[in-house]
Amino acid sequence: MPSDKIDIDYVAKLARLDLSEEEKQTFTAQLGDILGYVDKLSDVDVSGVEPMAHAFPLENVLDEDEPREPLTVVEALRNAPAQRDNQIVVPKVVEDA
C-alpha cells in the first residue's frame, strides 16, 4: 500500500479547494496518520474478491421515458446567487477546463 506523503497542493487543486498554509500543514499531518492507519488493509488477502459498489446487488433499475413536469424558471433559479435573463451568471469562464 502506498504511504507516500500526500501532495496536498495537487489534491487541493483537484478538489477545487483553497487551503491556507496552516490548513495544508495540519491536513497533511492528519491525513498522514489516517493513511497510516488505513494501511492495515494491505494485510487482507483480497485475491479473487469482487469489489462491492452497492450494499445490495440490484440490476436493471430503469424508468420509462415519460417526461414529468419540469420546475418553473422561478423555482429553478430560486436559490441562485446571481441571475440574468433567466440564466445563472458566473464570472468569466477562462478557457475550457
Binding site: 433499475v61 430503469l62 417526461p67 433559479l77 435573463d85 433567466n86 451568471v89 464570472p91 477546463a97
Partner: protein, 490 residues
C-alpha cells in the same frame, strides 16, 4: 518526405428521447433557457439519478447498427471535474464497462465522377458508451450565462480507432454514421443543433514509420464540412511543422470556422485526473440475448445495403440510388410508390419522378432549405398513379410534367387532374392529328427543313414537332407525330 496522417474521432450523438438520461425532466431542442430542469438536473442537495430505459435501448440499437459487441453487463461511473455547465461537477458516464465494444461503420469514398460508385471500406470503432450531456454556456465580455436545459440529455459517445487517414475519409465516416443513425431513428444528428458533435485526434508520421505521431485534439467543429476542412488544415499544419523541424506537442486546438485555421487552446501535458469510480446511486444494467434480438428487429436496412439492393434487384443507376438511399424516408417513399403501381410502373420511372421532379419542387419553396417530405401534399399513391398514367400512354410525358406541378400544388390525384382538364393523349383519331400536321407542314417557314428531310437529313423535321405539339395543346404522343409526319411528307 511522404507523410501519412492517422485520425480518430470521438463523436457525441444526442439520443432522441422525451425525457433526460437520469431524470424525467423533459428534453427537446429550442426551449426557453432553464425551462427544462428539475431538482435532479440542477443537482440540488439530496437528489438521485434514475436511468432512462429508452436511452439504454437506443444505445444497444446503435451498437447493433455498428456491429459492436454488446456487453452482457455494464455499469455507470462518475467522471469528476469542475465546470460551470456541469451541475454535479461529475458526469455520469461509462469508464471500463461501456455498453458497446468494437464495431465498424461502412464508408464510401468519392468515386471518379458523381455517376460512379466510389470505393467502400470499414472504419473500426473502439467503443460506444452512454453518458449525460452538460448545460450550455454563453460567454460575454465580463461574465458568462448558464442554461441547464441540455444538462442531463442522453449522449452516446462513439469512439473510433485512429483508422482514417485523410479529411475525405473523415467526411465520409461522419456522413455514413449520421445517415445510419437518422435512418434508425436514434437521433436527428443535426450538428448545428448540437445533436451531433465531433472531436478529432490527429497525428502525422513519415510513411514507413510504424509508431503513430504525437496526437493533437481538435475541437469546435460545427458542421460535417467544417470537420473536413479543419482536419485537412490540421494535417497540412502538422506536416509543415515536422518539415520545418518544429516539434509537435500534445495539445488541444480549436477550429475557427471564420478564419479557417486551428489555434492552440491548451497543452495536454497536465492530463486530467478524473477520479473515475462506480456510481453508487445507479445499478448496473444487464443486456440479455432476448433484448438484443428484440431491439435488432426494429432496426432498418442500412443505407448502403439498400443501395446495393436497388442497384442489383431494381436495376437502378448508381446516381439515383445515391440520392434515394441515404435518406430512409425518401427510400421508403420510393418503395411505397413502386408498390402502389402494382407492377405497372418501371422502378426507374418511379425513382426518376421522385429524384428529379419531387425533390426539385421540395427545395424550390420560398423558405430556406427543403420542405420535409412528410409535409408535401404528394404521396406515394400520387407518384404511382402518375407513373402508370404515363406508362400506359393515357397522358404524354410532356403532360405528365404539367400534371405533376398541378398535383404538387393542389394535392389532387393525377387522374382527377387529367379528367378535369381533359389532358388525355388523343388516341386513335389519327385523322385530326394528320390534319394538324398537314397544316403545319404547309407553313412556308418549314419549307427549308422539309427539303432537308427529303434529302435524307432525318433530324431536320424536329423543328416541326414543337409547333405541332403546340397546336394539339401537348396532348399528342411525340412518337405518333413522327410516324404521321413521315407519312405526310412521303
Amino acid at each position: 518526405m511522404e507523410f501519412k496522417a492517422d485520425i480518430g474521432l470521438e463523436v457525441h450523438v444526442q439520443l432522441k428521447t422525451r425525457s433526460k438520461m437520469f431524470t424525467r425532466a423533459p428534453y427537446y431542442y429550442g426551449a426557453e433557457p432553464n425551462t427544462l430542469t428539475d431538482p435532479v438536473v440542477l443537482a440540488l442537495p439530496g437528489v438521485l439519478p434514475v436511468m432512462n430505459k429508452e436511452a439504454v435501448r437506443k444505445t444497444v440499437q446503435l451498437g447493433l447498427l455498428c456491429k459492436c459487441e454488446i456487453a452482457e453487463r455494464c455499469k455507470w461511473d462518475r467522471k469528476n471535474y469542475f465546470y460551470p455547465d456541469s451541475p454535479k461537477n461529475y458526469q455520469l458516464s461509462q469508464f471500463d464497462q461501456p455498453i458497446c465494444n468494437g464495431g465498424e461503420v461502412e464508408i464510401e469514398m468519392l468515386g471518379a465522377s458523381r455517376n460512379v460508385m466510389g470505393e467502400h471500406r470499414m472504419v473500426q470503432l473502439t467503443r460506444i458508451h452512454l453518458e449525460e450531456d452538460v448545460g450550455k454556456l454563453t460567454h460575454f465580455a465580463n461574465d458568462s450565462l448558464v442554461d441547464y436545459n441540455r444538462a442531463g440529455a442522453p449522449l452516446c459517445e462513439i469512439v473510433t480507432e485512429p483508422d482514417m487517414h485523410n479529411a475525405d475519409e473523415v467526411f465520409a465516416f461522419l456522413t455514413a454514421l449520421r445517415n445510419n443513425i437518422v435512418a434508425a431513428g436514434l437521433s436527428d444528428c443535426d450538428m448545428e443543433k448540437g445533436q451531433m458533435r465531433c472531436d478529432a485526434n490527429i497525428s502525422v508520421r513519415p510513411v514507413g514509420q510504424e509508431q503513430l505521431g504525437t496526437k493533437v485534439e481538435l475541437k469546435n467543429m460545427n458542421t460535417i464540412s467544417g470537420v473536413r476542412n479543419a482536419v485537412a488544415y490540421e494535417i497540412k499544419r502538422q506536416i509543415h511543422a515536422v518539415m520545418s523541424k518544429e516539434p509537435i506537442t500534445q495539445q488541444t486546438r480549436r477550429w475557427d470556422p471564420v478564419t479557417q485555421v486551428t489555434s492552440k487552446m491548451r497543452d495536454k501535458e497536465e492530463s486530467h485526473d478524473y477520479r473515475y469510480f462506480p456510481d453508487p446511486d445507479l445499478m448496473p444494467v444487464a443486456i440479455s440475448a432476448e433484448l438484443k434480438e428484440e431491439l435488432g428487429k426494429d432496426l432498418p436496412e442500412l443505407p448502403f445495403d439498400r443501395q446495393r439492393r436497388y442497384m442489383a434487384e431494381l436495376d437502378l443507376p448508381y446516381t439515383i440510388t445515391s440520392v434515394l438511399c441515404p435518406d430512409r424516408a425518401l427510400a421508403e417513399f420510393f418503395e411505397e410508390a413502386l408498390a402502389a403501381t402494382k407492377g405497372k410502373g418501371e422502378p426507374k420511372a418511379v425513382a426518376n419522378l421522385i429524384v428529379n421532379e419531387l425533390l426539385r419542387e421540395l427545395s424550390s419553396g420560398e423558405q430556406e432549405g427543403s420542405l420535409p417530405l412528410a409535409e408535401s401534399k404528394v404521396t406515394p399513391a400520387h407518384i404511382a398513379e402518375l407513373v402508370v398514367l404515363t406508362e400506359e400512354g393515357v397522358i404524354t410525358k410532356q403532360i405528365g410534367k404539367e400534371v405533376f406541378i398541378e398535383m404538387y400544388q393542389s394535392g389532387k390525384m393525377p387522374s382527377a387532374i387529367v379528367e378535369e382538364k381533359g389532358l388525355q393523349a388523343e388516341q386513335g383519331d389519327d385523322g385530326e392529328l394528320e390534319a394538324i400536321i398537314r397544316e403545319v407542314a404547309a407553313d412556308p417557314k418549314h419549307e427549308k427543313a422539309i427539303a432537308q428531310f427529303k434529302e435524307g437529313n432525318k433530324k431536320a423535321i424536329n423543328s416541326l414537332i414543337g409547333p405541332i405539339m403546340k397546336a394539339t395543346q401537348g396532348k399528342a404522343d411525340p412518337r405518333k407525330i413522327m410516324e404521321l409526319l413521315a407519312k405526310v411528307l412521303g
